[in-house]
């Protein structure tokens, strides 16, 4: 085995430099040249040039005049430095019924909104009738906690709330949703969806017109 030691060390050094440094640095230079926007995170700027987020990373919206994203398990919600799902299983009581904060541990907030609370809130917020049920994507958390999209039906259910909060017609909002919906890629791959950030920026621009 000793005879193999020297080649092993030398090969490790040279191959690690090739694969671990030369390769990623070369690709970075080419990528920055070919696709500068994507390579730097598809960042979105406001009119004054400030970064307001990324096209690909979901962000938190709680105010009634905005479309709300799905609930998120990343940190306190859409924390970019802490991507995560809940990792709760289908028979978890916490997942379905939620959890109250433990009063004994003052520094840690253990409260957790289960499907039950999320569903009730969604119905109340959006004034759903008794025949309208919240779509499942509106009450479940994504795998990354940073899902930028919601389903079209989720967006449509939220439209009434937004129309009321902004004093716009329902039709205006509905056509905006339609305009900002993405179909399946090449008509077949993935799922139709609406990017929440794009939609909310479009709402803001509507006000300014």
């Amino acid at each position: 085995m000793l005879k193999q030691l020297l080649p092993a060390i030398r090969a490790t050094i040279i191959l690690s430099i090739l694969t671990g440094l030369v390769f990623p640095i070369t690709v970075t230079i080419i990528a920055q040249f070919l696709f500068p926007k994507q390579a730097n995170g598809s960042l979105v700027y406001n009119k004054t040039g400030q970064i307001i987020g990324s096209q690909l990373i979901g962000q938190q919206f709680v105010q009634p005049q905005y479309f709300h994203p799905r609930p998120s398990a990343a940190g306190t919600g859409y924390a970019g430095e802490a991507s995560a799902g809940t990792n709760l299983g289908p028979t978890s009581a916490k997942f379905i019924l939620g959890q109250l904060d433990d009063k004994n541990t003052k520094d840690i907030d253990k409260s957790f909104a289960g499907i039950k609370q999320l569903s009730e809130n969604y119905v109340k917020e959006n004034c759903l009738s008794s025949t309208e049920l919240p779509p499942v994507d509106a009450v479940t958390r994504s795998g990354s906690g940073l899902d930028p999209d919601i389903s079209q039906i989720n967006a449509l259910y939220q439209a009434r709330r937004i129309a009321k909060a902004r004093g716009l017609s329902l039709q205006t909002i509905a056509s905006l949703i339609k305009k900002h919906s993405q179909d399946r890629q090449f008509g077949i791959l993935g799922e139709p969806r609406v990017n929440v950030l794009s939609l909310n920026i479009a709402l803001e621009n509507l006000d300014h017109e």
């Binding site: 092993a8 307001i52 990324s54 991507s83 009450v139 090449f186 799922e191």
Partner: protein
């Protein structure tokens, strides 16, 4: 299940079958040492690597020398990574100052046991991660410490499998090839060119590739949001192609910066299977009977497609506990965005998530685009069972095919027992020593998975114990009831199988889990690779026996059926009791609205 969902699965399958032959043909060219069309670009580099490493690529190795080289090289690699991880605080490419005094508040510290677990995990091609990349690893640790192994461990697996194929293909010799030559040629001619194009494709879809510190955005509602950055695309590409699966970010391929579009998702799924699929063709080509390779591919494909549809079906059926909370889950209304959407991304929906979960565990990849912990019980059983069967349904780079060949050896052995003839496989007599090696391979896996799971399920430790802060080993689960048991079982199945996906609710970053799962990974890698190489050493010395009228043909439907039978019976006999305690009982409890 929806029509469009099934259609996506079928499109994937067709693409896979179409590219199998060209990929396999090219792999054969490279590994047989023939000149390829890239020779004029990479030939100089290849010779330079040999020269600087001080190896003679022409020297043919006995299987023991081959194994020593491989082991020494893996050991040095593990030490190398351990060192980088421990020293990342003082090394360059650390814009977020991880492991330093000025690290951000959300940073996790790189403890010795975590560094050990991670170094073993990446060396063994497992990529089990007890850390979150975005708050633990510097860019140097990611590129040089971790992604280095994504390249190397894949190339090592490819080399080992090539050696076993030579065992079948050569006759009456003692040598199985040259480890260094196999390693370097596969790296330069297979992994480099594909990863290069693949990385740039990923960037075009939105995967980031830079060395900038994290961006701070002020969101529309005026909240601060940290947007992570880093050299993700290169690491993502080799992570998928090398079937490693260790994500740059905690959320892995569910993270929009790792897998931003359905198209990037399709290519990621294809890239997990192309090399193992190509390997079956390469096997057929090298033993000079391509039908043998197609037979193995057929067995793999049948098991794969079955698993996919079972997983997809149960995800579409969803979770009745969600439904009773007045939520619309029907796929008739919502299409592939109904059913069980917990832990899934909208852009992928049910079909692409179920397909990805099956592929990543058939292959020994372990990248995830949905959270396996949140799958419905029987849908979650499929990834678990795929791993337990030994990751031979396509499987890892090399490790998949050598695992499948071992099952092929067992199949002809069992068939031989039934008719009372000495078994043969592709012209080699299978004798006592060969069957012993094959059984060692099978038993090492079962032993590691079941013994460690038992330990994790019962071990009592004092509260706040230094080796496991939550106390007893079973306290680390995120879900109680049968689901908690499944988390532990999945942890050791995944680490033994060198998969790396997780029922990620389990708190793995404690000395107890870091060390036991690292041992499971080492057993799963080397106690399977060494018997495979020993088998190569034994087979290579044998003469070729031309098929006679009494030879059991190993390229037809009967063999494929028997092979699938042997795989399922060995898997079922070993793991059925454990599976009943986990996902199977949970399935019935879920339908009776029992919560834990």
């Amino acid at each position: 299940m929806t029509l469009i969902g099934c259609l996506q699965i079928i499109i994937y399958s067709l693409l896979l079958l179409v590219i199998t032959k060209p990929v396999g043909f090219y792999m054969t060219q490279v590994m047989e040492g023939e000149k390829t069309f890239l020779e004029f670009v990479l030939g100089h580099l290849e010779r330079m690597v040999y020269r600087m490493s001080g190896v003679n690529p022409q020297e043919e190795m006995h299987w023991t020398t081959y194994t020593y080289s491989l082991l020494t090289f893996s050991l040095i690699g593990a030490l190398f990574t351990y060192t980088i991880l421990r020293l990342q605080g003082i090394l360059p490419f650390n814009p977020m100052s991880f492991s330093t005094a000025v690290a951000p508040v959300y940073a996790t510290s790189m403890t010795p046991d975590l560094a050990f677990n991670t170094a073993v995990s990446f060396t063994t091609n497992t990529n089990w991660q007890n850390y979150s990349g975005e708050n633990t690893m510097s860019y140097l640790s990611q590129m040089l410490g971790l992604a280095y192994h994504n390249w190397i461990s894949a190339a090592v697996g490819l080399a080992a499998c090539t050696a076993l194929i030579r065992g079948f293909a050569r006759q009456s010799v003692t040598t199985v090839g040259n480890f260094w030559k196999d390693l370097v040629r596969s790296l330069l001619y297979i992994f480099f060119p594909i990863t290069f194009v693949y990385s740039l494709f990923l960037v075009s879809q939105g995967v980031i590739q830079n060395f900038a510190p994290y961006t701070v955005a002020l969101t529309v509602e005026g909240i601060k949001q940290i947007i992570p950055q880093g050299p993700v695309a290169t690491q993502e590409a080799i992570k998928m192609l090398g079937i490693n699966g260790g994500g740059f970010f905690n959320a892995n391929s569910a993270h929009p910066f790792e897998n931003p579009t359905p198209f990037s998702n399709l290519i990621q799924m294809l890239s997990m299977f192309i090399l193992p699929a190509g390997f079956t063709y390469m096997f057929g080509k090298m033993v000079k009977d391509t039908r043998q390779g197609w037979a193995l591919l057929a067995a793999m494909f049948i098991l794969f497609i079955l698993g996919t549809f079972i997983c997809y079906y149960f995800e579409c059926r969803g979770n009745p506990n969600i439904r009773v909370q007045h939520v619309e889950t029907s796929t008739n209304v919502l299409g592939d965005l109904g059913g069980n959407m917990e832990g899934k991304e909208i852009r992928f929906g049910l079909a692409d998530s179920a397909l990805f979960a099956t592929i990543t565990t058939d292959a020994s990849c372990g990248a995830v685009n949905c959270m396996h912990d949140s799958l419905t019980p029987l849908a979650g059983l499929i990834p678990l069972l795929n791993i337990q069967l030994g990751e031979i349904i396509f499987g890892g780079v090399g490790s998949g095919l050598y695992g499948m060949l071992i099952f092929a050896v067992l199949t002809v052995f069992i068939a031989g027992l039934m008719v009372g003839r000495t078994p043969e496989y592709v012209g080699k007599k299978i004798e006592q020593k060969d069957v012993k090696m094959a059984m060692l391979f099978v038993l090492a896996g079962c032993f590691s998975i079941l013994i460690f799971t038992a330990l994790g399920s019962v071990l009592e430790l004092p509260n706040k114990s230094s080796i496991n802060v939550p106390g007893a080993a079973y306290n680390n689960v995120n879900n109680t009831g049968p689901h908690g048991f499944t988390e532990i079982l999945y942890c050791y199945a995944s680490s033994t199988g060198n998969n790396g996906s997780a029922f990620a609710g389990l708190t793995g970053n404690t000395p107890f889990y870091n060390i036991t799962s690292a041992i499971a990974m080492l057993v799963g890698r080397f106690f399977m690779m060494i018997p495979a190489l020993a088998l190569a050493g034994s087979l290579v010395q044998k003469k070729y026996v031309p098929p006679s009228s009494g030879t059991f043909p190993t390229h037809g439907g009967l063999f494929v059926t028997l092979l699938i039978g042997v795989i399922l019976i060995v898997g079922a006999l070993t793991f059925f009791p454990a599976l009943t305690l986990g996902p199977i009982v949970e399935h019935f409890l879920m339908h009776n609205s029992k919560l834990f």
